[in-house]
């Protein structure tokens, strides 16, 4: 959120430069979804809804409980992006064919576009926004991606990084060939692949998996 505030502030400054009166402040979300204190555990098992009904969910995302009332069809990806303002996870195909939406659920990399938000209830979800340390320090994988220029447009990057972290933690980063195979579920149309492999080989050392 901080970044977005900065971003909007940037627009306003430019607008002043150009002497236009309009403000984009109205674009800002009027409500921020605040984590409430409520145990996740029991609610998780009892989720059910009828067709067309909204479903009330508690999702455990990046260590926070997030309460949502959603169309039952909402994918985990759309819940993150459209309802929680966690837009780091990207929509590239919505059908499990590109990997841009990769998040961790209970410590494993999965595709949030093919996961219903309901199915993720009661599980521990980590997104790109939850990867950096609480002090804002980059995860070694994030730092390695910058250092090795492992992206260009950056759109697939959050998915690549979530996948890369899991790739190392799974023990599938022994050599370049293994990394290439285990990272093939994340398409990079800018084609930073050799740099992605180099970044993972670099980061796995800092992750203690070399």
């Amino acid at each position: 959120m901080t970044q977005f505030l900065k971003y909007v502030a940037g627009i306003q400054r430019r607008q002043m430069l150009y002497g236009t009166a309009a403000t984009l402040a109205f674009l800002l979300v009027s409500r921020v979804v605040v984590a409430r204190q409520k145990p996740v555990g029991k609610a998780a098992g009892g989720i059910a809804h009828e067709a067309g009904d909204k479903v009330d969910l508690v999702l455990d995302i990046n260590g926070q409980e997030r309460h949502l009332s959603l169309d039952g069809r909402t994918s985990l990806l759309d819940a993150l992006r459209d309802h929680l303002d966690l837009t780091g996870s990207k929509k590239g195909c919505d059908h499990g064919q590109c990997g841009a939406c990769t998040v961790h659920v209970d410590g494993r990399r999965v595709l949030s576009c093919l996961t219903l938000a309901s199915m993720a209830s009661g599980k521990k979800i980590t997104t790109i926004e939850g990867l950096a340390g609480p002090d804002g320090g980059l995860h070694p994988m994030q730092a390695a991606f910058i250092e090795h220029d492992a992206f260009q447009c950056g759109y697939c990057t959050p998915g690549q990084i979530m996948s890369a972290v899991a790739c190392v933690e799974e023990g599938h980063a022994d050599d370049a060939a293994e990394i290439r195979e285990y990272m093939s579920g994340n398409i990079c149309r800018c084609a930073a692949y050799p740099n992605i492999v180099a970044a993972i080989e670099h980061a796995k050392v800092a992750m203690g998996r070399a």
């Binding site: 999965v110 219903l116 199915m119």
Partner: protein
């Protein structure tokens, strides 16, 4: 996606009871139109629901059944291998027993999809994955007997490079897209199912149905039945086995052709061969005549090529997939020669 009701089941028993209670029109329509569907990983179902190809009224989420031990376990003993249907593709692909004693199973799982999808997809869901036929997957094409019985088949004279050359009919030539099923069928696996009337076990080879005149009926599962596991019998050929998958790109792609091969060799000759073909047929395809042709022979270029010829003697290619006959033969030949000489 059309609206659906959603329930989480807490046991297999509960899951099949919910299905039994809620599926109003069992059996009469295509699986895709079953009113209630189980959902585990969701990798096939959510995909097809977004495309409006499958429109269930109710989902029963079996992904969180708490007593999951048998349901998702991998157990190997002297009788064979038991695979729980809720085990993930990733877990089974990396299981040490499977890797050592049933390499064809590990490889068929490992070479499928992506790491993320293998984490999500269950074995039970995997064997039931639906075809990639573009005319099936795109509801804006009108002629698809599998999706809409009696509507015709746009693939017969359409873009059919990926389509089947084995097991097709004038009603459907959609390819069975999976990999794992080929290893099961090659190894004479059985499948366990649970239904409202109890459980049953039958040969995996009887699970999938060739399209014939009813391509919308893809399996022999009875309405409301749930796959709970697979049994792969121990056999002298399981260790000498491999899965060869040929595709355009190096990973994250469906097979243009694949072969699951297991051999029992003695004194340089084949005692028994087990062969299944993927990417080439409408169902997981067991090539029994080809297997028989190898019995008692040394496995060499000549016997492998003969087996390949036999495997494709009934092939029926179309405009864009004629190459698959040659490719299928070469794939099988290559797989046979590899398995015959692999270190075990």
């Amino acid at each position: 996606m059309q609206p659906f009701a959603y329930t989480r089941a807490h046991s297999v028993k509960e899951a099949v009871e919910i299905i039994h209670a809620t599926d109003k029109a069992p059996g009469s329509k295509a699986e895709g139109d079953a009113q209630t569907q189980f959902i585990a990983g969701g990798t096939t179902l959510i995909d097809l629901m977004k495309l409006h190809v499958v429109n269930p009224a109710r989902l029963v989420d079996i992904g969180s059944i708490e007593a999951q031990r048998e349901w998702s376990s991998v157990t190997a003993d002297k009788h064979g291998l038991h695979l729980g249907a809720m085990a993930s593709m990733a877990a089974v692909a990396e299981d040490k027993d499977v890797l050592r004693d049933y390499p064809v199973i590990a490889q068929s799982l490992q070479l499928a999809a992506s790491a993320q999808l293998r984490n999500m997809a269950s074995l039970g869901g995997n064997v039931l994955q639906r075809t990639r036929c573009p005319y099936f997957r795109d509801v804006s094409f009108t002629a698809c007997n599998k999706r809409n019985p009696g509507s015709g088949c746009d693939a017969l004279h359409g873009v059919n490079r990926q389509h089947a050359v084995l097991g097709g009919s004038d009603a459907c030539i959609a390819t069975y897209p999976g990999d794992f099923a080929q290893s099961l069928i090659a190894l004479d696996a059985s499948v366990h199912v649970a239904g409202a009337k109890g459980t049953r076990t039958f040969p995996f080879a009887e699970l999938h149905r060739q399209p014939a005149e009813t391509p919308h009926v893809e399996t022999t599962l009875r309405p409301g039945e749930l796959i709970t596991g697979f049994i792969v019998p121990a056999a002298p050929w399981t260790r000498r086995s491999a899965y060869l998958k040929i595709r355009d790109r190096a990973s994250y792609a469906f097979a243009l052709a694949s072969a699951a091969v297991a051999l029992d060799m003695a004194d340089g000759r084949v005692r028994q061969a087990r062969i299944a073909l993927g990417g080439l047929a409408t169902v997981p395809w067991r090539a029994k005549d080809a297997e028989a042709s190898l019995a008692g022979k040394p496995l060499d270029e000549r016997s492998a090529a003969e087996a390949a010829e036999i495997a494709f003697s009934q092939a029926n290619p179309r405009e864009y997939n004629a190459f698959k006959v040659k490719l299928g033969k070469e794939t099988l030949t290559r797989a046979l020669l590899h398995v015959a000489t692999m270190e075990i």
